[in-house]
Amino acid sequence: MQLTESHRQYWAKNLRVTAILLAIWFVVTYVVAYMARDLNFTFFGWPFSFWVGAQGSLVVYVLIIVYYAHYMNKLDQEHGCAEEVED
């Protein structure tokens, strides 16, 4: 049950990537929505902030989650936290 130094690093890196991704999430959602009126230049027909609300933010959300899964699964391996798969 004793935590090793590797465990501590693993958790610190996890917190860091979580914080960064959360910041991106926040900007895409709240900052753009807050400034919606100022960002309504035309973007392929859409007003830009309308497009972000309807499509752009969704794409970013998917990317955030995919990246997190990929990053953490790799981190598991590096720090010996990966679940072993029995054959």
């Binding site: 935590l3 999430w25 929505a33 989650i65 899964a69 990966a82």
Partner: protein, 704 residues
């Protein structure tokens, strides 16, 4: 470890058998997709050969409900692990699909595009809120809950916060949230069955419920998971086909998501025309007149009421004296009976009618311009500035509640217990959001394309040439769709139609001129969305009662068979109770759903995330935080939401805090929950060592 039973399933399923299992699933579902397409094609051919519409409706209803029941029957089980968490071997992709349809309810499938149609940019709060919440699920909850590896969310609260108090609050909140939510789903089921087959609303509810019950009753989570995958496939096909068709029809390009920006430009230009159109202005003036007339009557209610009554009585007497036809007399008697009974009733009815007429006495039938961000104007006068700020604040608050609520709905979080490993739990969130994304990406396009169709094709059509779908929908429920030639010019104006958001998606195939078989398919898709969510919710409620309340708190020695049997019995009771409430047609769907999100957000999110990320969070902090957060959310809703005010008999004037709408009450509950947990944890003793170990256990995928 404390609270960890031997069957906690932390282990990983053998890789080779898992691969074979997945391969088999791929094969089964490929056949299934082929079969479904064949089914639709055969019905389509039959329609061309003259099969009546009602039969197509019956075929879709019976076909899909029997299919779901069949999957439930094949997956029947009494094994606890299979019943509660589908044996923990659902591959990430399939768990993603199941979560997708578990997630996408009647509100997403039927309601959302309609809301976007009616409110334009403001409706995007639902799009962002209901997808962005998955970022919180992925980053804060899913992998940790999977590592924890028990059966329910109250399980986690009970283990993490050391005891039955936290578990009990969790049970209460889970039931409250799921019950409010399931009522909305069952209402949606009733709406669709009625449209599809023409049976009464109440009967429709119980028919649909049959399908839900056979499935979750026999096979629990296992049956529900495999049914939900099947339901996802139907609902996504059904949602996409009409939109693609509309897109091809309007733009000649089959990917609506890429091109509807240009349609939005055209809609915006047409809005400017319609706002200035003299015929539309005529209609608006008539509604204004009606509202003013009612306003005049409201100034002196007793006199106006007496005058109304005298006029109606005189008409009946005159008709009787003149030996008028029976129909005319009956109509006059009905009008007399409809005169309000007393002054209070008259005041009430006239105030409502005045508000309704005022609402319609606005440009574009009361819809804001589609691309306009927020009401009011930041550079305008004081009033316009306030309107702008309030509207923006509400938009952001609603996104916040929907996002945090998403990451706290027990029936969604529970799904991440069913994957074989932590790794797959993470991947499964990606797949979930991807499958949800497909629909949410499309909904705003659907709203714009339908609006284009209504503005350009429908508006200006002579009344006797209006398409048939308008009449058939008005027959289902006149509150959802009604048209009347208000200014008597024989031409349809936008202001002359009142349309409820809930029928936009269901009517899209007919609006686009597709054969009826596609309408049937869309209705079947809506039914799949409502049923799949209802399945997951009912299971959550039944599990909270049987597993958490009965097994963990009342009789810890109960055998597995007994627990599963109790869960099944409760499922039946809860389903009937929910159907009973839904049959009363309470509040509107969107409010019920929004309320469920606010409740979930305030009750669960702070306690769950702090429980994983802050070792210091203590039992008392969590309990008081959950109660306080949920309490203030409920209080605010009861004090401000008209329907709830009626139920609880609140008569004090409505006082909004910072102008926040009742649906977003969670915006007060979540911060209060966090604050209470943190403050009280700091003044109470730290959790004991066993709990600290449990937190490490959930943080590191391999730590035993």
């Amino acid at each position: 470890m404390a609270g960890m039973s031997p069957d906690s399933g932390g282990g990983v399923v053998s890789a080779s058998s898992q691969a074979a299992f997945k391969k088999q699933l791929n094969k089964i579902y490929s056949w299934y997709v082929g079969g479904f397409i064949l089914f639709v094609l055969i019905l389509g051919i039959a329609e061309q050969m003259g099969l009546p519409r009602a039969w197509i409706g019956y075929a879709f209803l019976a076909g899909t409900v029997f299919l779901y029941a069949g999957i439930g029957f094949v997956s029947r089980t009494n094994d606890a692990s299979e019943y509660y968490v589908a044996g923990r071997r659902v591959p990430a992709v399939y768990n993603g699909m199941a979560t997708g349809s578990d997630w996408m309810s009647a509100a997403s499938f039927i309601g959302m595009a309609g809301t976007l149609y009616l409110t334009g940019y403001s409706g995007l709060a639902f799009i962002m809120g209901w997808t962005g919440g998955y970022c919180l699920v992925a980053l804060f909850l899913a992998p940790y809950l999977r590592k924890f590896g028990q059966f329910t969310i109250p399980d986690f609260l009970g283990a993490r916060y050391d005891g039955n108090l936290a578990r009990f609050i969790g049970i209460f909140a889970a039931i409250l949230v799921s019950f409010v939510y399931v009522v909305a789903q069952i209402y949606g089921v009733g709406l669709i069955t009625t449209r599809l087959t023409g049976v009464s609303f109440e009967l429709g509810i119980f028919l649909g419920l049959g399908g839900i019950l056979v499935c979750s009753f026999l096979g629990g989570m296992k049956a529900v998971t495999w049914t939900q995958v099947a339901q996802y496939i139907i609902l996504i096909i059904a949602y996409l086909i009409p939109v693609v068709w509309l897109s091809v029809k309007q733009t000649g390009f089959p990917i609506p998501q890429l091109v509807y920006g240009y349609q939005l430009e055209k809609v915006t230009a047409r809005e400017a025309e319609l706002i200035k159109d003299p015929k539309e202005l005529e209609v608006i003036a008539i509604f204004k007149e009606r509202a003013d007339a009612l306003g005049a009557k409201l100034k002196d209610v007793p006199a106006a009421l007496a005058a109304d009554k005298a006029a109606a009585e005189k008409k009946v007497a005159d008709l009787k004296a003149a030996n008028a036809p029976a129909a005319e007399l009956a109509a006059a008697e009905k009008a007399l009976a409809a005169v309000p009974k007393d002054e209070a009733a008259a005041k009430d009815a006239w105030t409502k009618a005045q508000a309704a007429n005022n609402a319609r006495a606005r440009p574009l039938a009361g819809m804001p311009r589609h691309g306009a961000m927020y009401a009011g104007d930041p550079k305008g006068d004081e009033k316009a500035k306030t309107a702008y700020d309030t509207s923006r604040r509400n938009f952001l608050a609603l996104i916040f509640c929907l996002m945090v609520g998403t990451a706290a709905l027990p029936h969604i979080l529970m799904r991440f217990y069913t994957t074989p490993s932590v790794k797959e739990a993470r991947e499964s969130v990606s797949w979930s959001l991807f499958f949800i994304f497909l629909l949410y990406f499309t909904a705003p396009a659907l709203a714009v394309l339908v609006k284009y169709e209504v503005f350009n094709v429908l508006v200006g059509t002579p009344f006797d040439k209006l398409p048939a779908w308008i009449g058939s929908w008005a027959a289902v429920d006149p509150t959802l769709l009604s048209v009347a030639d208000v200014n008597k010019d024989g031409i349809f104006q936008l202001g002359e139609m009142r349309i409820g958001g809930d029928i936009i998606v269901l009517a899209t195939p007919e609006i686009g001129g597709l054969p009826y078989v596609i309408s049937g398919m869309v209705a079947a898709g809506g039914l799949a969305a409502a049923l799949s969510t209802a399945d997951g919710l009912l299971l959550t409620i039944a599990n909270a009662l049987s597993h958490d309340l009965y097994y963990k708190m009342i009789d810890p020695n109960a055998s597995t068979e007994r627990r599963v049997a109790i869960s099944k019995a409760l499922l039946l009771v809860v389903a009937l109770a929910a159907a009973y409430v839904a049959a009363q047609k309470p509040a509107d769907i969107l409010f019920l759903v929004g309320a469920a999100f606010s409740f979930a957000a305030a009750a669960f999110f702070p306690a769950l995330t702090l429980g994983i990320f802050w070792k210091r969070a203590s039992k008392w902090g969590a309990c008081i935080g959950m109660v306080g957060g949920l309490g203030i959310t409920m209080y605010y809703m009861i004090m401000t939401q008209p329907w709830l005010r009626g139920v609880f008999g609140v008569t004090s004037p409505v006082e909004l805090w910072y102008g926040i709408a009742p649906i977003s009450a969670g915006v007060f509950g979540v911060p209060l929950g966090f604050a209470l947990i943190i403050l009280i944890s700091l003044v109470t003793p730290a959790p004991k060592q066993e709990v600290q170990d449990l937190i490490d256990h959930v943080r590191y995928p391999t730590l035993r």
